[in-house]
Every structure is written in C-alpha cells, then in structure tokens.
C-alpha cells in the first residue's frame, strides 16, 4: 500500500508580471500529517498557500488536491479550508454570528453545524457572543481556525496561525491541529515560528526565492551533515572548557550571540563529536546539567539553506 497524499504538486510556476513567485515547485503533503512551510519573506509561501486554497491558478505545472486535479478555474476542491494573510472576519458580527453566517453560506444548518463545538475547541466559548471588532490578534486567529474547522476540512491550509497567540492560545491551537491530523486531516501551515513547526510538523518544505530548497521529514533535516552550536551547562565549567578544547571535532564558541553566563559553554560540533564530549565529561566526573542546540536544527537548516540559495541567486 503506497502513501496517500492530500497534495501533489509538480513543477508549479506562478509569476506576477516580471516577478517569479514560484519556480518549478514540487510538494507532497501526506494525508493525516502536519506539513510545515518555511521560508524568508517573499519566498513564495503565501502564493503556494493561495494556490492550495484556490485563490489563484498556477501558470504551469500539475497540482492535485485531495485526488482532484486543479484546473484553470478558481476555487479549491471540496474539503479544503483555511486562510492566508490572516483570517477573514467581519467586525460587526459576533464570533458566533461570523461562524453562523459562514455555515449558512456553505449550506450548513447554523443550529447543527457544531458552532459551539468549534468555539470550544479553540477556547473562545467565553467570548462567543462578543463582536469580533474587539478581538485581539490571537483571538482573531483562533476564530479564523474555528471558521476553517466548521466545514470539517480534509485539507487545512493555515498561514501563520500562531501569530499573536498567548501561551494558552497556542496550546489550544496545537491541540486542535494535532487532533485533526490524528483523525486523518492533512494540515499545511506556514510559520516563521520554528518552535511551532518543530512541535507540530512531521515534514517541512523550505522555500527560498520561489524554489524548494528542502522537503522531507524533520528528522532528515536534523541529521543533515551540518555543525550546530550547542549550549552545555555543567557542574564545573572550567573543567568542561578544558575538555572541550582538547577534543577532536569540538570548537568552543565565545561569540555565540547568547546571554553571557559563566556556567554556560557554547560548542560547535557534529553530533558524533558532541557524543564523545558528553562521554568524556561524565568520565571526568563533570555533571552535564543542560545540553541543547542554541538554535533549533530546523532554524539552523533554514538559515543555512536559504542563505545558500540567496547567495546562489546573486
């Protein structure tokens, strides 16, 4: 049995006048998984999400969404929902009225469309009858997600869904997305928040200047043969520094751009050399209290790959 894909894109190109927004993009989104889309500003993320939502049509290439080839007409297949550039809400309507109007627009009975349920899922039950005019950005994001959930999508496309969310709101959104994926819904989300993507996504696609520079599982990205900076907190920082200086493949970094802390050592290494360092610290009786990458593997890969692409483009 092969892998089921909610989205299959091959060689997608989209231009706006002289500007090439997407240049031969390939994308596979596996059913029931959360797929992250990252890239610097202007990389083409919003354009790609717009194509998935049927807001635009590609100039060339092949796009299949939920098994349906997307033609030249606007409009995505049934079962696709989401938002780009922020959720569309009407400030003169309450949260509940926004959802009820949308439900009726989609031919659902507002009474039985599960409005209360989706409001509860995103944690907005308490403000259901408040006008959207007074909502914060985070509340608007959550209401936008609720609107997308109302149609029971099988492909959910979200642009920066964590924008403006407080920790509690973020937890709500993460819980909803994780549960949706577990129930078989595919989610494509773009974000600049690497921690969100690492927490949620099983696969990511990195775009730079309209091209795909990486696409695959997060684990593969982390395992790429690339040195990373790690923060090492130990019981004896002096001894740890001596050991690090004497280890092969380990370089102590004194200008890592993080807060100065006498107990903290920052080293640059590949994963095998780091393993050796930890073993030798323990053998020497130095306790390792904290070991973490200064920047996440995804962020490091993102920076490296996008910088390479931009340099190649110059």
């Amino acid at each position: 049995m092969g892998t089921l894909h909610a989205v299959v894109a091959r060689g997608i190109t989209k231009c706006f006048g002289d500007v090439v927004a997407l240049d031969g993009v390939d994308l596979d989104v596996t059913q029931g998984q959360i797929h992250g889309l990252v890239g610097p500003n202007g990389a083409g993320k919003t354009t790609l999400l717009g194509l998935l939502l049927g807001l635009a049509v590609a100039d060339s290439g092949r796009l299949e969404i939920l098994g349906t080839p997307v033609g030249r007409a606007f409009g995505a297949p049934e079962g696709v929902s989401g938002f780009v550039d922020g959720p569309g809400l009407y400030p003169s309507l309450t949260a509940r009225q926004n959802l009820a109007a949308l439900a009726r627009l989609r031919g659902l009975d507002a009474g039985s469309a599960g409005i209360d349920d989706v409001l509860d899922q995103v944690g907005l039950t308490a403000v259901a009858d408040d006008k959207a005019r007074g909502f914060s950005l985070g509340m608007r994001q959550r209401l936008g997600l609720a609107a997308a959930l109302l149609t029971k999508p099988r492909l959910l496309v979200l642009d920066e869904p964590s924008n403006g969310l407080d920790p509690a709101g973020k937890r709500h959104v993460h819980r909803v997305l994780t549960r949706l994926a577990a129930d078989g819904t595919s989610v494509v989300l773009s974000s600049h928040r690497m921690d969100d993507l690492e927490a949620l996504c099983s696969e990511v696609t990195i775009l730079a200047t309209g091209r795909v520079v990486f696409s695959g599982p997060l684990s593969k990205l982390a395992a790429e043969n690339r040195e990373l900076d790690y923060r090492v907190r130990t019981s004896d920082p002096q001894a740890a520094r001596r050991l690090a200086d004497g280890s092969d493949g380990i370089r102590v970094v004194d200008d890592a751009g993080i807060r100065q802390d006498d107990e903290l050592l920052v080293v640059r290494a590949l994963v095998p050399a780091l393993d050796e360092l930890v073993a030798s610290l323990v053998r020497s009786g130095v306790a390792v209290r904290e070991l973490a990458p200064v920047v996440s593997p995804l962020e490091a890969a993102f920076l490296a790959l996008t910088e390479q692409e931009q340099e190649a483009g110059r």
């Binding site: 049927g54 635009a56 109007a101």
Partner: protein, 449 residues
C-alpha cells in the same frame, strides 16, 4: 509509491448558490450600525419632517409642491422626492453601493470570501443584489414615511398639479407612487456608479464619493443653459422628469427618456464594474484600486455612452435648443392660471365658470422683448387675460416668471390686488392661501411648439 487521497470520495467543489451569497451579504450589510441607522432614519425622519413642516406657518415654496403642504398630505412625499433626488439618494447610494466591495478591502476579507464562495462571479452578483435590496428598502422608507407623515398631519386631500388642475386623492396617490418609482431609475444609475467606484478604487475614499460627485455634476449640469438633448442624456434627468406626471396631459416623453437613459447607465456601469472585478488579482495584498484600468475600462465607456445618448436624443427629437419657447411658456401659464382661477372662484363661492368660458390666454415677453424670446431666466413677464360670462371687459393679471433651465417656473403675481395681490384670501370658512398669488408651472422641453 504515492497516491493521492481516494479520488472516488472526492467531489469537485460546489459553488455557493447566489441565494446563499445574497443572504450572507445582507447579513453583513444589516449588521453595520450605519446601515441600521440609515434604515431607521429613512423610515422615521421623513414623516417627522413632513409633519413638522406642514404645521409651520411658512412653507418651503421654493421647493416644488412645497406651497401645497398645508393643503394636502400628498405634497409632502413630493417635496421629499425633490430633496431626495438632489441629496439623499446620491448619499444613500454612496454609503451602500459605494462601499460594498471596498469594505472587503478594508477588512482584508477577500480571500476568506473567495475560499468560502469559490466564484468571483457569484460574489459580484450577491453583493450587487444585496446593495440593491438595501437601497430599495431605504427609498421605500423615504416614500412611505413622507406620505404617512403628510397624510396623518394634513390629510388625504386633492393635490394641485403643476398645471393648476386638481388631482383627486386617489389619482394623486398613484402619481406620487409613480414619481417615486421613476426616481428608482436614476438611483440605480448612481448605485451602479457606486459599485464601479467601489470595485475600481478599492479602499480609496474616492470610491465612496463617486455617486455624490456624479450627482452633483449632473445637478450643476441641469442648472446650466444646456441643449435639451444634453440635459436628457444625463442619468440625473429622471430626478426632475417626474414633474411631468403632475401635468395634464402627462409629459411622458422626457420621463421615459430619462428613465431609459438612467437604466442604460445602470446596466453599463454594473457591467463595467463586473469586468473590472473579474480581472482583479485577489492574491495581491498591495492592491488598492485598479488605477489606470479604472479610467480606461470604467470612465471612458460612460463618457462614450453620454455622447451616444446626446446624438440619439438629438436625432430622435428636435431638441438642440433650450426647449423653452415663448408660445410654450404662454400656453403653460394660461393653462395653469385658468385651473387656479376656477379654484379661487370656488374658494370665494363665486359663480362657477368653465375653462371654455374663461378662454384664458397669456402674452409673455422676455427682457421686455429686447432679447431672444426663449430660454431660461427670471426676466419673463406675462399678461394673462380671461373672460367671465356676462362681463364685457376681459380681466387681466400680470405675472413675473422665473423659469429655470429644466422648464420649471414660478409665476409671481404682480397685480391686480384683488386677483393675485395678496397671499391670503378671506373666505367664508376663514383665511386660505390664494392660489393665484404665486404658482408653479412646467414647460415641456421636448415638444416643438
């Protein structure tokens, strides 16, 4: 191996029917406080205004039918219609139709709407129909409320027409209804201009201002001494042409031409807005109106339509002059005088006379005969002559006329005192306004003589 999600379970997205989109748009419009306020104002304020003015000792006699607001409740809705055509209807069209597309730009909701509806065409139709519905509701409010205010405060009395003849209450009611219905055509034209502005200019306030600006330009044009063909080719003319419903015989020609021109404008402006809307790039966040395209696709065809209409009206009717000629003025003044003389006779309980017995005629000159005897101006002077059975000497009365470019005139009595010298008549039932002291009339611009 990869496969896309089971294709047999997937159906192509159904587009949202226009009826649902229409309801969605109505909900959005009605949820706005300014629309609610407008609906409330249009259904309440005219009644209060008409009732209030009707109780005043000084009436707005410079407004058509204003001088009859004491006499009949049917004058109120016509005064309101005159005011609405100049100010209220352009502003209402602007607030509703001029903002219906721009509001989505301001709120950043286009993508949301497109994802939900999946068809720009249906969005356009739904938005246009929803704005039309709200505008109709507002116009109906103005008409019904002003009529109710007049009827409750003054009563269901006969209305004096623009040629002085009395219209029975039922006849007046039908004509008032027809006049308001006729005013819908130019209102639709302004609404379509509003749609066009809203689509073409995005969130720019110029889109919102377009209908009032267009209405102002057309009002100013109607005040200028333009040839009749140009006057009739402007969609705002139907805001004036309803006057012809209150003469006998009814001046239907200008009214029908005005309505037809307005409807063609409405259709063309809506079609242009539709074309611009379908060509819009909804993925472009920086979109703020279609700029040069608005000019070429939006404005130029309307300018072309005006030129074409001027040509068609000029060829179809002998109407390249002002349309205000000496013989037409004389006939109009004599007819109105005869009708109103009979009314005065009845008020004073004198022996009734017929118009055939009166044989009223008028001799009118402009600028004391020193200039061309045609055209608008306040320098017309008429001497009206009439006969009474058994009286060998004909009666005469003098009137100073102020004729505006649209053919409307006010005849101001200049003696003798016993005919038109006093504002009030002393009747057996008390003082009553003297119908011959000052009266309104109308010269039909299209007839050759």
């Amino acid at each position: 191996m990869t496969a896309t999600v089971a294709a047999d379970k997937v159906v192509r997205a159904r587009r949202v029917p226009v009826s649902r989109g229409y309801r969605f748009e109505l909900v959005k419009l009605v949820s706005q406080w300014r629309i609610r306020l407008l609906v409330l104002a249009c259904w309440i304020a005219p009644a209060l205004f008409v009732a209030g003015v009707s109780q005043q000792s000084t009436l707005p006699s410079d407004t058509l039918f204003g001088r009859w607001m004491h006499a009949t409740g049917w004058a109120g809705p016509l005064v309101m219609l005159g005011f609405a055509g100049t100010y209220a209807l352009p502003l209402l069209s602007s607030v509703v139709a001029g903002d219906v597309f721009a509001a989505e730009d301001r709120l950043g909701t286009w993508r949301h709407l497109l994802v939900a509806v999946r068809s720009p065409r249906r969005i356009f139709v739904a938005k246009s129909l929803a704005s039309l519905t709200v505008i109709l509701l507002l116009v109906a409010g103005l008409a019904v409320s002003s009529a109710a205010g007049g009827l409750v405060s003054v009563g269901n009395q006969p209305l004096v027409g623009l040629d002085g003849h009395l219209l029975a209450p039922s006849d007046a009611a039908v004509r008032v209804l027809l006049a308001w219905t006729a005013a819908l055509a130019p209102t639709l034209a302004l609404a379509a201009i509003g749609l066009l502005g809203s689509v073409a200019l995005g969130r720019s306030p110029m889109g919102l201002l377009l209908p009032p600006v267009a209405a102002l330009v057309m009002s100013v044009a109607q005040m200028l001494p333009l040839p009749v063909a140009v006057r009739l080719a402007l969609p705002g003319y139907a805001f004036i042409a309803w006057n012809g419903l209150f003469t006998g015989p009814t001046q239907l020609g200008p009214l029908l031409i005005g309505i037809a021109v307005s409807l063609v404008w409405a259709l063309l402006a809506t079609a242009l807005a539709y074309l611009l809307f379908l060509r819009r790039d909804f993925t472009n966040l920086a979109y703020d109106g279609s700029g040069r395209r608005a000019l070429t696709i939006g404005a130029l065809p309307l300018v072309g339509l005006t030129a074409l209409t001027v040509g068609v009206v000029a060829v179809a009717t002998p109407s390249m002059g002002s349309g205000i000629k000496q013989d037409k003025v004389q006939r109009s003044v004599a007819t109105a005088f005869a009708h109103l003389y009979r009314m005065q006779t009845e008020q004073l309980h004198r022996p009734a006379v017929t118009e055939a017995q009166l044989r009223a005629s008028a001799a009118c000159t402009k600028s004391d005969g020193q200039a061309a005897q045609e055209g608008a101006g306040n320098d017309w002077r008429c001497v009206v002559t009439w006969h009474l059975p058994g009286v060998p000497v004909p009666g005469t009365a003098i009137y100073q006329l102020d004729i505006t470019s649209d053919g409307r005139f006010v005849a101001d009595g200049d003696g003798p005192k016993e005919v038109n010298g006093y504002f009030l008549l002393r009747t057996s039932t008390g003082d009553a306004p003297n119908p011959l002291w000052q009266f309104d009339g109308n010269v039909e611009l299209l007839t050759p003589h």
